[in-house]
């Protein structure tokens, strides 16, 4: 359970402080998915970094399973916009990085994850040799390698073509159904939010506050894009964002 209470995130100090997030409260239960949508630069990513422990909140509290988040945690995996791959490491080394940093090296874990992602044939290649879709899959493999309780994703599919984006959204959904980690997804793609988020928090202009939370309980099936519930949610999100 991730519990975010009255969180304020600021950059800089004193009179020069710029507020990016202003008193956001949200809860995400184990195995639940939450999407955060809002205008560009509204503070969505700042909120995500605060949840990941990279950015300490100026006010409020964030707890994971009752324990305060005081820094990056092994149970929480963060996937950055461009997958955050290190160009000087091979697919195998990138996928193993989180395990290695934690002092563990159970090769079978990383091998299983790479296999699950269909990446074993390219394990010795460098990111520059991969397609954008493959790079995102390596990023997911790295996040999954530590079997996290929560997966945080910061616009993980931005700049992908429509078809690749849909394929990776399907992959996210399958992995989420199989591993049942808590998922927090930051996106400005309304359809992506509607396809992956059981709840969708619509944030205001900067500094971000929660304008409304849209319930989207039918999420979970690969054919959800074809259902009327999906289109209803997309329409509702669009009207909330336009308000």
């Amino acid at each position: 359970m991730i519990d975010i209470r009255d969180v304020v995130v600021e950059y800089g100090r004193g009179l020069r402080a710029v507020r990016a997030v202003n008193g956001v409260s949200l809860q995400v239960a184990r195995g639940e998915s939450l999407a955060l949508v809002g205008p560009s630069g509204c503070g969505k990513s700042s909120l995500l970094y605060a949840i990941s422990g990279l950015l300490p909140p100026a006010e409020g509290s964030i707890t994971l399973n009752g324990e305060p988040v005081l820094g990056p945690q092994r149970e929480v995996a963060l996937i950055l916009q461009n997958a955050g791959l290190l160009p000087w490491k091979t697919v195998w080394q990138n996928a193993n990085l989180s395990l290695k940093l934690g002092g563990e090296y159970p090769e079978t874990t990383a091998e299983n994850v790479l296999d699950e992602m269909g990446l074993l044939p390219v394990r010795d290649r460098y990111p520059v040799e991969l397609s954008e879709g493959m790079k995102r899959r390596v990023g997911i493999a790295r996040a999954l390698s530590t079997a996290p309780h929560a997966m945080l994703m910061d616009e993980p599919l931005a700049s992908l073509d429509a078809l690749t984006k849909e394929r990776i959204q399907d992959l996210f959904l399958r992995l989420w159904n199989r591993h049942r980690f808590s998922l927090i997804l930051v996106t400005h793609d309304i359809e992506e939010a509607a396809f992956l988020g059981q709840r969708i928090a619509v944030l205001s202009e900067c500094p971000a506050t929660v304008k409304t939370v849209v319930e989207n309980p039918e999420v979970g099936g690969l054919d959800y894009r074809l259902r009327s519930g999906f289109h209803r949610t997309v329409a509702q999100l669009r009207s909330e964002l336009e308000k």
Binding site: R74, A77, L80, L86, E129
Partner: protein, 269 residues
């Protein structure tokens, strides 16, 4: 299968590399020959020996030239290593740690623009007239060059790469090992290439300045004492060029090993 193809491509790359080097050197020798002929016809004297004469003189001087080559080579390599060992970590720290940078950058801005030759007298007073001062002169000049390059390279590191390892729970040391060090390697190797040329110039100054031990001349002193015998002087200049070439090739080889990701085929987007 892919490995075999990669090996074959890599062999072909190496052969291509050697061939282009050979063509390039041949072109240089041809230009030298033409310049030598033109100067002979214009001035009526062979101020500039042709490449065949210079190479023949190199062979004739054999052991003597090799001894001087060896002395200069180890002085230069040692100076580069000292400058690298001191300048690279300090540059990385300064570029990556903002607080430390605030302390170090004013010192760099004040000292770096001063021509390093201005410190030669002080270095002679500190180190005497033997080998240490010659190495120190070159090392001091290269230290700032490497420090400034490393600092600049560390400042250019993409925030995303640092965030990526920090979010996975990396310690400060792990950030340096997995991100800062590899991210700055290409720039620092370029800086080392510049250092070879700069180091040669300072080595020449160091070897031709002040008193010297006749058994420990080095190529700089060899060229200077033979400046009125152009064939011998050019044999020394060729030996210096050879030293530079060997160091450049060595840096290229190191780069291919430690920056392998830069030599893989980029996928078209």
């Amino acid at each position: 299968m892919r490995m075999r193809m990669v090996d074959r491509m890599s062999d072909r790359d190496t052969l291509w590399h050697i061939a282009t080097y050979a063509v390039s050197i041949a072109a240089l020798l041809l230009l030298w020959e033409i310049a030598s002929v033109i100067i002979f016809h214009v001035k009526g004297r062979a101020f500039l020996p042709n490449p065949v004469q210079a190479i023949a003189e190199m062979v004739r001087l054999g052991p003597l030239l090799f001894r001087n080559f060896w002395i200069s080579a180890w002085r230069l390599v040692l100076a580069i290593l000292i400058a690298f060992a001191a300048g690279y970590p300090l540059g990385l720290l300064s570029g990556h740690e903002r607080r430390l940078d605030r302390l170090i950058s004013p010192i760099i801005y004040i000292v770096y623009p001063i021509p390093q030759v201005a410190f030669i007298l002080i270095l002679f007073l500190i180190f005497g007239i033997g080998n240490p001062v010659k190495v120190a002169i070159v090392a001091l000049a290269l230290f700032f060059q490497i420090l400034v390059s490393a600092r600049g390279a560390a400042k250019q590191i993409q925030e995303e790469h640092v965030m990526s390892v920090l979010s996975a729970g990396a310690t400060r040391w792990q950030v340096y090992w997995h991100v800062v060090l590899p991210a700055t390697l290409p720039s620092i190797l370029t800086s080392l290439r510049v250092s070879v040329g700069l180091g040669m110039a300072f080595l020449y100054i160091a070897e031709t300045t002040g008193a010297f031990d006749p058994r420990q001349q080095g190529l700089g002193r060899f060229i200077e004492t033979n400046q009125y015998n152009s064939q011998q002087a050019f044999a020394g200049i060729l030996a210096m060029a050879l030293l530079g070439l060997i160091l450049y090739i060595l840096i290229d080889v190191i780069e291919r090993i430690v920056c392998r990701w830069r030599y893989t085929s980029r996928r078209p987007s």
